[in-house]
Symmetry: C2
Subunit: 206 residues, 2 copies
């Protein structure tokens, strides 16, 4: 491992810490500790301290962490202190719901273009956006320099769409299609498949 290489699993927990800090701030707290955070998240305080220590010493012995300061630091580490432009591919039932979801823009991710392959959808609207043809997709993404995309097309088209997105310069994909994508090393993929989460719990039911 390269000396400054931070484990993926550490990075994946930072947004969870950030979310908990947002919540604490909303509740009016100004300072917290690894112990309090850990209790809320079901994570050991040692792990939280260790995770944070990869990026520097954000706390003070005896008192803990200033919430506002720690939030800002984590935002910068995660690069979510800025606004991001996001492309959405697929304007069917699922894609339209994604386009309408307000949580993205509220937290700095702005959907700025929506694509679909159905000619009868092109020109219509989804969640306030005019739907463009996938034929324009590569060019549009290149011109805008978009790096993040969400895929909400049927499973059988997802890999093809991903290939095009990557060719256009996208480096981060949130895939709502229930299928694994094969992508080069320099591209990140995250998956959302709610059924899969349900299937992870039924095993434990009687």
């Amino acid at each position: 491992m390269a000396p400054n290489m931070i484990p993926d699993i550490v990075i994946s927990r930072l947004p969870i810490y950030l979310r908990a800090l947002d919540r604490l701030a909303q509740e009016g707290a100004e300072v917290t500790s690894s112990q309090e955070l850990g209790r809320r998240l079901g994570i050991s305080s040692a792990q939280i301290r260790k995770d944070l220590s990869h990026f520097g010493g954000f706390g003070k012995q005896g008192t803990g962490y200033k919430i506002h300061y720690l939030k800002e630091q984590l935002r910068q580490v995660l690069k979510v202190e800025r606004e991001w432009e996001v492309a959405l591919v697929g304007a069917g039932d699922l894609g339209s719901a994604v386009a309408r979801y307000k949580g993205f823009a509220e937290r700095g991710f702005h959907i700025t273009c929506v694509f679909d392959s159905a000619p009868d959808k092109v020109g219509k609207k989804a969640g306030g956006f005019v739907i463009m043809s996938v034929d324009q997709m590569v060019q549009e993404i290149e011109v805008r320099g978009i790096q993040i995309a969400m895929i909400a097309v049927p499973a059988e088209h997802a890999q093809g769409v991903a290939d095009q997105l990557i060719a256009a310069g996208v480096r981060a994909i949130l895939n709502y299609a229930p299928i694994n994508l094969n992508v080069p090393d320099n591209v990140r993929v995250q998956y959302i498949d709610p059924v899969l989460h349900l299937q992870r719990m039924t095993y434990y039911l009687p």
Copy 2:
């Protein structure tokens, strides 16, 4: 660790294997190998064999796994060979989209009741379901013996709703609210927060 205790992380991969097998079957394949599955999923073949071996020998040396047979076995292990009844709490923007999503019923999870706290929503419809008052929630879930629920209410109400659901007998919660839930050991929770997934990728972008 108890002798028959299977690590959570193994269980969490089984639905991924199942999804890949469904796909292979759809493509017309009848047999596969740990190597082929691994290539598709970006997982080592050794890990797939090890994971499966927790539940018995499903394959044949030299030939691999019969897809149909392995699918059925995994379905039984995960208890998704049956149909499940699911309650949905929250019929706002997000809850309505969840109620309309067809993927749940297609894969054996049937939303059979939807609850909301807003009096003006009660009696109206969301995704084909009549919305009931949360005041009826505990009784309704108890009577029907529902064990799985999805939460799509604002973050500040999620913990309260979860507590009620658990009191009513729910043992598995899919939480769409962007907040961690504290639940007893005998209750499972899974989280869906798409923004969190995006935040896990921006770190790696330039």
